[in-house]
Every structure is written in structure tokens, then in C-alpha cells.
């Protein structure tokens, strides 16, 4: 297939100045509209001519989507806030270092300067079969080209696969799930709040979407409750190139300790499935146990139960086990 990378097919461009105007446009154009925040994912799709929206709604002029502010019982981060702004924000660094660390490991400085947190959590999967424009399940077809005997699927799913084996590539998503964040979604019908854990959708529920955002809806902000402020955090990302790359796997955890034992914990792994997976069984198993090698070993074993390797991604299973072990026991550099 000839791919032309220098020009995009024509579309109607809107640059609303307010959230209200953006929502009105989304309501008017529905599934014909493409939401563009930082453009880091959008331009790939548009230049490759795989997605051909009739309308692009550029959110760069919506000032109210940007910024981080303290609210009652936590922080509210505008969905249009850049990843760099999150990394540098003293409130985030002070209370929610997990998110700052995750955001700092996204791609490269240039991309973090332009990319937004809303875009980072809502970005599409990087499965190249899907992004090549073939009619796979995720594109509305009836096959997963990445789950065939000859597929190149080193980066694909080991858990939660249901026909499609694509994974979620976000670094900030697992951190937000671990922090028990809420996503603020606005549409013509009003505002709804969705827990970060439920914002991400697996192929078993909807094989063509990665988030709960329906046509006509806009992610406007992310609220992080103070529940986990100042907790012990751990974030680790494994990637092929440390300069910049998508995760092969990443892990995020937030824990509180009491009397030398784990009192409360949330632990989330991403790039193992099409949605960040909160490891409920691991959490239940380690609460009340001391933070040591034995507990870490137990957590690692439980984490990989049910994991199923494809042809080229079996390495992800021991990698996931080890990341969960490290998250439990910490490596001395956790925030």
C-alpha cells in the first residue's frame, strides 16, 4: 500500500475557543469528528490517510482545558495540560510523584512539550497491523492479523485478549488508575465522571474503542483525589530504546504501610492488555504482609496467572512478573 506521509486528505478544521463550543461541534458532527489535542497521535493517522474524518476539532485554542489546580480533596488537571507542565508542576511532584514520573517517561522532551495528558490517556493502540489500515477487528473487520501463526507480535497482549491482541501504550494511564483518578467527560447532555479504571475499555467490551469516550463526548479534566497523596509510589517502564519509545510493559503502584506491613496498595500494569490492568488479586494477596522478597515473589506469581503468550511475546510474562516483584519490594529509588 502506498502511503503518502507529506499531505493529509482534506477535512474541515474547527478551532473552538471554549469547551462549550467544542462540545457543540462534537454534538453536531458525532462520529464524523476527530478530536485533536496535541496532535501527536492524530497527525500519524491523518498523514497515513488511514483515518479520514470529515471534521477535525483542534482543541489547542481552548485555554480552559489547560492547567492544574487544587480542588477540594485533590487536584484537577485539565485534559489539555501538556505532559511537561505535569512533570514540572510542584503540586503534582509533591503529592503525586507517581504521575510526574510516568509523564516524564513519555516519549521525548519535544513530544512532552506538545503532547497532552488527555491525549496520552486517550491515544489509540500502536498495533502496526491496525495502523496500516487493514480491516482487522479493531478497524471494523473480522480478523486479528497480529494473532496469526506468522504475525510479528512482540509488543502485543499477554492478558485480556479477546480476538484483538493490541495493547494500550499509555504511560500516564496506569499511574492515574493507581491514583484512583476520575475522568471528567463532557457532552451536550452534561458532565459525567468515570473512574480511571473504567475509562479504559478492553476488546471484550468494545473492540473498536480503547476508552469509554463515545462520539460527541470530550475528556475535559482529570481529578486526582487526595486519597493517595504522599503515598509510597513506584513506576517503572521497560522499552526497547530508553531515548524514547512506547512501553513494552510498565507498572505503577501506590502503597501505604503500617507497622512495617503493606496497609493499602493499588498496583496497575499496562501494555500487557488493551487496557491498564489493575491487579486486584495481587493487591488482595499482599495487604497485611511485610514488604520483602517473599511477598514480592508471591505477588509476581499471582500477577501472571492466566497470561498467554503469542508467538513472539513470551518474554513479557517473566518481565511482568519481575516488574510486579520490583513494585512490591521497591528498589530504593521509588518516589
Amino acid at each position: 500500500m502506498a502511503v503518502i506521509h507529506d499531505v493529509m486528505p482534506a477535512f474541515e478544521l474547527f478551532q473552538p475557543a471554549t469547551i462549550g463550543d467544542a462540545v457543540t461541534l462534537l454534538n453536531r458532527y458525532g462520529s464524523d469528528a476527530w478530536i485533536m489535542a496535541g496532535g501527536m497521535d492524530s497527525f500519524d493517522w491523518l498523514k497515513d490517510r488511514i483515518k479520514r474524518p470529515k471534521v477535525v476539532i483542534d482543541l489547542s485554542q481552548v485555554e480552559s482545558l489547560r492547567g492544574i489546580k487544587a480542588v477540594e480533596n485533590g487536584l484537577e488537571i485539565g485534559a489539555g495540560t501538556t505532559l511537561t507542565a505535569i512533570v514540572r508542576d510542584p503540586q503534582v511532584r509533591d503529592k503525586f510523584g507517581l504521575l510526574a514520573e510516568a509523564a516524564e517517561l513519555v516519549a521525548s522532551p519535544q513530544i512532552r512539550n506538545q503532547g497532552t495528558v488527555g491525549g496520552n490517556v486517550s491515544q489509540d493502540t500502536r498495533c502496526w497491523y491496525y495502523r496500516a489500515g487493514w480491516s482487522c477487528y479493531r478497524a471494523g473487520g473480522n480478523i486479528c492479523y497480529a494473532d496469526t501463526p506468522t504475525a510479528i507480535n512482540r509488543e502485543h497482549a499477554i492478558l485480556g485478549a479477546d480476538r484483538c491482541v493490541a495493547v494500550n501504550p499509555s504511560d500516564t494511564a496506569p499511574a492515574l488508575v493507581a491514583l484512583d483518578a476520575q475522568m471528567v467527560i463532557q457532552s451536550a447532555g452534561g458532565i459525567r465522571l468515570v473512574n480511571a479504571e473504567d475509562y479504559f475499555v478492553g476488546p471484550d467490551v468494545d473492540i473498536t474503542r480503547m476508552t469509554a469516550l463515545a462520539p460527541g463526548e470530550l475528556l475535559t479534566a482529570i481529578r486526582i483525589p487526595s486519597t493517595w497523596a504522599g503515598a509510597r509510589f513506584y513506576f517503572e517502564k521497560v522499552r526497547d530504546r530508553n531515548v524514547w519509545d512506547f512501553p513494552l510493559l510498565n507498572v505503577a503502584s501506590a502503597a501505604r504501610f503500617a507497622g512495617g506491613k503493606i496497609d493499602k496498595i493499588r498496583i496497575v500494569i499496562n501494555a500487557a492488555a488493551a487496557r491498564p490492568l489493575r491487579l486486584h488479586a495481587v493487591e488482595a494477596a499482599v495487604v497485611g504482609k511485610p514488604r520483602n522478597e517473599q511477598t514480592a515473589e508471591l505477588a509476581g506469581q499471582i500477577a501472571i496467572e492466566g497470561a498467554q503468550a503469542l508467538r513472539y511475546n513470551a518474554y513479557k510474562i517473566p518481565l511482568m512478573r519481575n516488574l510486579v516483584k520490583r513494585a512490591i519490594r521497591g528498589n530504593g529509588s521509588d518516589t
Binding site: I143, T148, V205
Partner: protein, 279 residues
């Protein structure tokens, strides 16, 4: 309006992928319109039933028949309700996501599909060896009955034959459900080779892209067809004048009078009670 969806395979060929969900809405609309049309017809038409006096006469003449006539054996009823449950699970899991209800539907769908397949296989064996196999089919021999039923529906009093064990509508519906149901089951079993189940080893290359496309379209067409057919079936099951049939699918029997009113004793023979020793 598109009836089917096309896609592009890695070789740049256009391939069929699915039916358009427009057909689902069309089938739903057609099913509901049929209800409105039939309901209106039943209110306004002059369709003829067998006169009560004639039924009285028949009942007097067949007093030796049992008071309760078995219409559906326990096995036949079990098959029917298992199949009905499986069909509802299949339709809801298939189409709730289409109307925007997000559920993890695939596992429930293929499990219900296997239950339906098993019940159909059972039914084929049961009907072939333990029931009157031909009583449910419609053929050239039924033309006089079809003609008589049509004339009665138009308000004419005609002496033509009544139904055998199954009313004409039952038999026509059975033919439609055989076509749609078997299409859905056969294509569905093949499609299971593309999903992870503990039963089949996945083999996405079982067929080429074109054959898979045809299989998916056949499954979709059968599925949307079943939406309309099931709506019609449920509608007739709850209509007051058909309630005696529905009741027989629950209890297994109909009364002697219902048997004589709606059926032709010559075409559905019921064994008479043996004469008592005093007679």
C-alpha cells in the same frame, strides 16, 4: 444504504467483512411493523373460525377421545425452551452492543451458540426417530389447506381441510427458522475457530479472506433475520387466540375440544380411549 461492509486485506483486495447494522434496524422495524399490521388485521378482518356448533358435533362424535390430547412430549418441550433460552442469549449478546450497551459478550455468545447447536442436533435425531417427522413440513400436499386457510382469513366459509398436528403458520415459521437458524449455527461454529475457546484450537487461516467474509455475512444475515422471526414468534405466542398453543408448549397437552376445533382428525390421528368393560 449499504447492506454489507467491505474492507481491505493485506494484498490490497476488497473483501466482504460484515453485514451492515442498518439491516438489524431494518429487521427490527419490519418485525414491529408486522405486529402492527397483523394486530390491525385481526381487529378489523372477518376471518372465519370453525363454528361452535360444528365443534360440538365433532366432540359428540369423538367422545371416545381422551379429554387431554398430548401435543408435545416432555423432551420436545425441553428442547423448545432450551433452544428459546439460547436464542435470546444469542440475540441479546449480539445486538445489545450494537444499540450501545457495552458488555463483554463474546464468551456468552459462543456458549449459547453451542447450547443451541446441541439442542438442534438433539431435535433432528428426536424428530427423525421419535416424532412424526413430516408433520412439520410444508409441501405440495398442503396446497388445498393453504387455499382453504387463505379463504377463511378473507372471511369465506370453506369446507377445505384443517391442519394436521401443526397449524400452517407453525409449519411456515419452522421452515424460516430452519433456514435462518442453521445458517447462523453453521457459520457460527466455523467462526469459533477465530476466537479463543477451550474447545477449538484457533485457526484464523481455516479459510481465505473471501470465504471468511461470506461466512461472516451469512452469520450476520441469519442473525438479523432471526431478530424479525423471534419478534413474530413471541407475538404469536402471547396472542389470546394462540394462547392454547403456547399453553400446550408449557403443559404438553391440549383439550379434546381444542384438538377438534383446530385440527383435522384425519391428518393428526389421536388414539381413542379403549371402550369400557360395561359397554
Amino acid at each position: 444504504m449499504d447492506f454489507v461492509k467491505w474492507g481491505l486485506n493485506p494484498w490490497g483486495q476488497n473483501i466482504l467483512t460484515h453485514v451492515s447494522w442498518t439491516l438489524f434496524w431494518a429487521s427490527l422495524f419490519a418485525g414491529l411493523m408486522f405486529l402492527v399490521a397483523h394486530g390491525s388485521y385481526m381487529l378489523l378482518s372477518a376471518h372465519r373460525k370453525r363454528p361452535e356448533t360444528e365443534t360440538d358435533r365433532l366432540e359428540a362424535a369423538h367422545a371416545n377421545l381422551p379429554a387431554r390430547v398430548e401435543r408435545h412430549s416432555l423432551m420436545a418441550r425441553l428442547f423448545h425452551w432450551v433452544m428459546a433460552a439460547a436464542m435470546f442469549v444469542l440475540l441479546f449478546t449480539a445486538f445489545l452492543p450494537v444499540v450501545g450497551v457495552q458488555i463483554a459478550w463474546v464468551t456468552w455468545h459462543w456458549i449459547a451458540g453451542l447450547v443451541l447447536t446441541g439442542s438442534i442436533l438433539f431435535h433432528i435425531v428426536h424428530a427423525s426417530f421419535f416424532l412424526d417427522f413430516w408433520s412439520i413440513w410444508v409441501g405440495p400436499k398442503d396446497i388445498p389447506e393453504i387455499k382453504a386457510e387463505l379463504l377463511r382469513e378473507l372471511g369465506r366459509e370453506v369446507p377445505g381441510p384443517k391442519s394436521g398436528k401443526y397449524p400452517l403458520g407453525n409449519r411456515l415459521y419452522h421452515m424460516a427458522i430452519v433456514v435462518a437458524g442453521l445458517s447462523a449455527v453453521l457459520s457460527g461454529v466455523l467462526m469459533m475457530s477465530r476466537v479463543r475457546t477451550p474447545i477449538f484450537t484457533r485457526n484464523p487461516y481455516l479459510f481465505g479472506d473471501v470465504t471468511w467474509g461470506v461466512t461472516y455475512v451469512a452469520h450476520g444475515l441469519a442473525g438479523v433475520g432471526l431478530v424479525g422471526l423471534v419478534i413474530a414468534h413471541v407475538y404469536f405466542a402471547v396472542r389470546p387466540e394462540k394462547w392454547w398453543i403456547t399453553k400446550s408448549m408449557l403443559l404438553g397437552w391440549i383439550t379434546r375440544r381444542q384438538y377438534l376445533e383446530h385440527h383435522e382428525p384425519e391428518r393428526w390421528r389421536v388414539t381413542a380411549n379403549p371402550p369400557t368393560s360395561r359397554s
